[in-house]
Amino acid sequence: MSQASATPPDHPQPQSLNELFWAFTWLALQGFGGVLAVVQRELVDKKRWLTREQFIEDWAVAQVLPGPNVVNLCLMIGDRSFGVRGGLTALAGMLTFPLLIVLVLAYLALGSSHTGQLQDALRGMGAVAAGMIVATGLKLLPALKKNVIPALACTGMIAITFVAIAILRLPLIWVLLVLGGLTSVWAHRLLARAEEERTA
């Protein structure tokens, strides 16, 4: 069993579907401009339901699968503790209250007189949300220490991915397939070599 998939003893799990539902409701309600940064802060840093490594793994899978990424992520986290019921409970928590808020906002937006100022406020919150996502990436860096790929090469791959998406604006699917494919094949070789050395 790989280290990252096992749940270490200091990582508690949600005790009930109820706890799961409200945890994800709370996550979603904090997530202005995206929920990902909040998931990392609440579930990895605070509640410790997930290790950094598990979070990266789950997020990688959630990215590759079609569908809303954060929805995929919450399905996987809920599924880990309570199976399909857990996944659907986490999803319900993630969607129910935000959905009600969006509908109320849509209703109110028809008659607001401060739309310009509201947009400025939203832009300010957008800048903070962007910074939060960068911080999420930075906080995951220590998880690479356990990676089979050498640290220098990891740094190089981070830089290439950044340039491909942020500067060249290449389509995400190609970046994932080509870069992710290459590093996965490489990791496969390194793992194979490590196992041979261990058995030799």
């Binding site: 929920v35 899978v61 079609p66 300010g124 800048a127 911080a135 942020a166 793992l191």
Partner: protein, 198 residues
């Protein structure tokens, strides 16, 4: 705006979102151009400004961005009932539209996620599965940094936008290095924007 939807139109709406669900690699937002083509250009079920407002509102509200899909369905249902909320029939029509688009975008991808996660968990000792997870890790981190960059540049790239850039950079360092509650930072960003300082 007032439109008429037959039962087969409702089915077409469901079918469209069921298909888009499996194409939405990288999130539902990547299928926005196709939704626009279908709902606004082809079927004329939504006005352009209704489409744009649905996306902007869902982005601004807390919660996953996929909720814009629910708002699109809500507005289609509303248009089918005459275009304004008045009486139970319009509420039901709008709610039906919302359920159809949301179920459509979520059902296929959710099913696939459960199946794929199960498979990956049962085969977690396979070298291929471990190699995939470890190989993807640096890519995922690079993606997060890039996403923050793209979101910031979307707010404005000219030099006069430097306060927004500074705000994003300061937020990144504060969230990285401290345990300050995220809502305080968002509130501060909102206030700075409201008073026109960024």
């Amino acid at each position: 705006m007032s439109i008429t939807l037959t039962p087969s139109d409702w089915l077409a709406l469901l079918g469209q979102f069921l298909t888009l669900s499996l194409l939405a690699v990288g999130g539902a937002i990547t299928t926005v151009p196709d939704m626009h083509r279908f709902l606004v250009d082809e079927r004329h079920w939504l006005l352009d400004n209704q489409f744009n407002a649905s996306i902007a509102l869902a982005q601004a509200a807390p919660g996953p961005n996929v909720l814009f899909v629910a708002l699109l369905g809500w507005n289609v249902g509303l248009n089918a009932a005459g275009g304004a909320l008045s009486g139970a029939a319009t509420w039901i029509s709008a709610a039906l539209g919302m359920l159809i688009t949301l179920a459509g975008i979520l059902l296929p991808s959710t099913t696939l996620t459960f199946v794929a996660t199960r498979w990956a968990h049962q085969n977690r000792d396979r070298r291929a599965v471990r190699a995939f997870k470890q190989g993807m890790a640096p890519i995922v981190i690079g993606l997060l940094l890039a996403t923050g960059w793209v979101l910031t540049t979307n707010l404005g790239t000219s030099l006069q936008h430097w306060p927004l850039w500074l705000l994003a950079a300061v937020s990144a360092v504060v969230v990285w290095r401290t345990k300050v509650h995220l809502l305080w930072l968002l509130g501060a960003g909102g206030l700075l924007g409201w008073f026109g300082w960024v």
